[in-house]
Structures are given as C-alpha cells and as structure tokens.
Point group: C2
Chain length 339, copies 2
Amino acid sequence: MATSDTRTRPVTLRDVAQLAGVSVATASKALNGKADVHPDTRRRVQEVADRLAFTPNSLARAITAGRTGTVGLLTHDLEGRFSLPILMGAEDAFGAGSTSVFLCDAREDAIREQHHLRALLGRRVDGLIIVGSRTDPRSSLGPDVPVPVVYAYAPSDDPDDASVVPDNVSAGRLAAEHLLTLGRRRIAHVSGDPTYAAAQDRATGVGQALAAAGLEQVGPVRFGSWSEAWGRAGVSAALDADPGIDAVVCGSDMIARGVLDALRERGVRVPQDVAVIGFDNWEPMIAGSRPALTSVDMNFETMGRRAATRLFSRIAGAAERGVETVAPRVVVRASTASG
Amino acid sequence: MATSDTRTRPVTLRDVAQLAGVSVATASKALNGKADVHPDTRRRVQEVADRLAFTPNSLARAITAGRTGTVGLLTHDLEGRFSLPILMGAEDAFGAGSTSVFLCDAREDAIREQHHLRALLGRRVDGLIIVGSRTDPRSSLGPDVPVPVVYAYAPSDDPDDASVVPDNVSAGRLAAEHLLTLGRRRIAHVSGDPTYAAAQDRATGVGQALAAAGLEQVGPVRFGSWSEAWGRAGVSAALDADPGIDAVVCGSDMIARGVLDALRERGVRVPQDVAVIGFDNWEPMIAGSRPALTSVDMNFETMGRRAATRLFSRIAGAAERGVETVAPRVVVRASTASG
DNA sequence: CTGTTAGCGCGTTCAG
DNA sequence: CTGAACGCGCTAACAG
C-alpha cells in the first residue's frame, strides 16, 4: 500500500544536487545565496529543491556552524501566566525562523530542572532562559553552564548573571500615582501573600508615591493570599476600619476582582465612591469584572523580548550582566474612570 | 581559572577519552554500558566524564541513530489553556529525558504555521503534535509531511490522520446526568458561541441525557458568547421565561461564573433553588466562584499523554489512525451539592 | 563558475 | 579488550 514508504528518508542536499546535475557544494552555494554561482545553475537547483520540498538539516549545519539556532526556555511557571508571554516575546525577538525554542517545565522541582538542563545542554542549545514562578531571587545555575543564561521574572541571586524582571516597585508607584491623579486621597492597599517579593515591592512603590504626595496610606497594607476570597475579606476589613476610603490598590487582579464584588455587594459605587486598581492586567480576570478593571500591566512580552535580546547579545559574546527591569504601564478602564 | 575562555567549547567524547588515556571508541562503549570494557577502564572513563561534566551531543548521536529524540508541538492556542496541559501530558508520556519538546505558537496563522513547520522539520523532529484552538476539524497537513503527525484538541479533517480530541458530547451528557441524579428536572442550558463545535456538541450531549430520562429541556439552548457577561444575561433571560428552572448547564466555566453572579444577585440560592454546572474545570474561574463551581473536566493532560503515546506508536511504525476521544469527568463542588 | 577535499562529533563496524 | 576507519549532511577552503 501507499504507506509502504512510511519511513521516507528526508530529502538531503545530495538528492537535490544529483537531480540538478551539480555537486553538493555547488548546490549548497546556490541555495545559500553565495556568490560565484551561475544564475541559471542557481535557478535550476532552486527549482529541484522546491520540487523535492528540500529542508536543510539544521543539525548537520549546526555541526560546523558551532551553533544550533536553538535556545532552551526552562520554566517553573506551571500555568504559563508568565512563561507564555515570555515565550512569545522571545519568538518575536528571535525573528521567526532562525531560532527555535525548546520549552521545558520544571514544575518548581530542582531535580526536574537539573534533568531538563542536561537534556537541553545535550541538544546543544545556544543559550538558556530560566523563568521563575515568583519574583524572589533564585539560586544561580552557576558559572559552569557552558552556554549563556538569562533569568526572567525571577532574578538570579548572583549579580554577575543576567536577569530581566518586572519592576514591581514602579508598578506600585504607578498605581498609586494614577489614583492620586484622579484626586483620590484616602487610599488603602489590599495585597496578597506577604512572603512574595512582588507583594512587598508593590507595597513599597505605593508607599513611595503616597509619601511623595505628602499623604499617608489609609490603614496598614492588608496582606493575605492571592485570591478573590481574600480580596473580599480584605476590603471589608479595610472599610470597616476606615469608611472614608476613596480608592483601593489591589495586590493582583484576582484580589481586585474580589474587592469589586465585595464593594458592589456593600452598595459602594465604583469608581464614584471608591476607585479600584489591580496588577497584571490578566485577561481572564479583567474580562468579567464589573466595572471593567483598571490594571497595571507588567509587560511580560517585553520582558520576553528583552530576555531574548540579551541572550542573543551574550551568545554573540557581549558581557551583558546584572538585573534589568521592565517598566510597567497602567491600562485604564472603568474602575478608575474619572468623573 | 578555566573560565577565562568565556566561550568554553562543550566537552566532547574526545576530550574525555584523551584525559582518560583511551580511544574515543573505548570511551563511548564505557559510557554507554556496552560490554567488552575492563571494569577499571570503565570506572576511570566514567570518572573523567563526571569531572568534566561531559554531556553527550545528542545531535551527533542523532546522525547515526536516525532519530533526534525531539518532537514538535505546534499550537494555535494563544493562551495555553489547552496546549500547556497537553505539553505536560506529553512530557510525562515521553518520560523525562529521552525526548524533548519544541513548542511553537502559530497564533492561528497559516503562514506562521508553515514557517514553524519548516523550522521543526529542518531540526529533524521525530514527530509532530498539532494543537488547534477550537474543536472544529482543521485542514490536514497532508500526507507529505515526512514525519508522523498527531492532531490534538482540533481533529484533522482527513480521517486517515491520527487525532485526539475531547469528547464534548459525553461531557454534555455527563453534566445533565449529574443534575438528573440530584433530582433536578427543569434544566436550562446557557452556552457560548454557536459557531463552535464544542458548543454544539455539549448541547447535543445535554439533549441526549434529557431525552433518555424522558424530559425536555427548559427553553432553547441559549447561545451567546464565551463570556461572563453573557452568562449573566443568558440566565436572566432563561429565568424570566421560566421561573421554575431548578438547574442550569453552562457552556463554560466563564459563563457559569456569570450565571452564579446573576443568580446570587437575584436572590436565587445555589444549589438549593438552582444547581449550576460548568465545563473545563478551569482553575482561575473556579477559584473565586461563589459557591464553588461543579465543572466537567475535559482531561487535557490525558489528551496530551494520549497524543504523545500515539505519536510514539507512529514513530515506532504503527498504523495509528482515526479520531480518538478522551473521556471527561465531573468534578463535584458546592454549586451542585446535594441537599 | 564549478568540483574536490576535508572535517565537524559521535556511534559503529571491523581489524588488531 | 582496544583502536583506526567510515559515515551521517553540510559547509569552508581550495583547485581546477
């Protein structure tokens, strides 16, 4: 039957050369746009290659080139909230085609990380992007990895490594400044798990902005967990303590979602009575919120692009080290609409 | 120290052999556990390899082996809702280590798909998994792809291809049967975009279960969009038309989330007055819902494992063709708790 | 302009 | 038990 040739050996350059009646070297030069090939010859070779659907074997090419045109993306972010945008940014930066990305999920497990690391190095990736699951510094892979490494989202604890991280302090500042711009003066902050650097950093940023405006935050930062349930509970506690609150900074969009629900149920109007802002600009949370939620976007795609770009520089031999932050931006929606 | 040469060329088998004072062949045999090597020699080679952190070059190995130990996962699912669980299932099935996965995002774009396809084939992947963004059949890559292909989530329109898809008809049936088990008899169905096969299939399943129980659905299937807003609007319309509804099947967890909110705001108690069930068991939606949402899990990870397993069979030469469905399961939570 | 030769890193014969 | 030689697919350097 037709499937007899199931294992059709892929077409090689040799096949093309043979059918075009030239040597492999000539065929190679013709297809790679090198000089010193007669136009006619080039065209003929090109034609045959197309007809045979010839795909050059990158592996063989890699042997001599010394580079495989492949990078590894080793993530610990199970759900892909950070790693997918980063992957997309990286794909963009690498320019479709010349570089491909191996994605491995280490699931917060050092053993698995080690394992994938070996697998990736064995496949001779040209470089590695390591994505953490929180913004707290993580242990460096060390200087003995034979390829350049860039850490994304979670920085390496070794300042000599290259890291690209979101700027949560700026994000906090931006959030508070946005509320201040609207004329809000009695601002509370309901955040998530206080063991997360992201929670602390955002709180720091909020504090800076308020201090700069000569204001004090209404009540302490109410830390809890990264959940809607906590958002509901946290804002209730805040309102009970200080009914005069006119804005709430929420540690994440999920928390904001809970805050919005609780406010609505208490009959507090958003944004007229209280303005609400979240962090992450996470579509699934934003989409259903009432009113539509203003949020600080951490620009993960940019982070991916930057990580990829820095990795490229390092692959090319540049020194590239230290932590680079990615500036966030406020996406304004109804929950802080002026008026 | 050694790190002076930043671009430390990866250690090759030759290096190991030299330092161990043996030939490459001996080193190879020693490290690969082949017979006919003196135990002492083996140990010495092993030691040197460890000391040098030698990682065998899979690329070179692939040359002779004819297989690269690499598969491509080409997805159109931007957000990773399907492709990430599938990736994880695939990683599991491949057994950590021997096989790595190239993940590419084609973003619903045929050009990009073609492009990534070439890149993957050029890297000589042993096989491909193609993940669609909806369960509607997609055009086959055709028989000319030189490696085995398995389609996941979206089946190929060519029955000779191998596909692994969620069983949405069963899912609909399971959902309705679950409600029937609870004693609910007046069941409405609020679903999403009717152009999606998933919406139609789930509706079909619901209809089958009701018919089998000798019941009629309360009102038509209310199609709309895959959004919370539509969930709120849809259930309101349903209730206005038929106040006696005692259960609602929701086309997705997002819709269910909207339905729950609308019911609560109307003073309808869940599950006492109306039971609610969704589809997908999507954690971000489930987490914040009040009460906790019962949902039909489509078992994406299983889908990934099955896709990987079938791909393996095909790589090994098996015939493997046709569409395989993955059975869903109901995850019961408070929104349908009995009592 | 084109063909020949060498070699990349590794596994695999096949002689020693 | 060991080592030299071959080949995988391709490109670079050199001859013609």
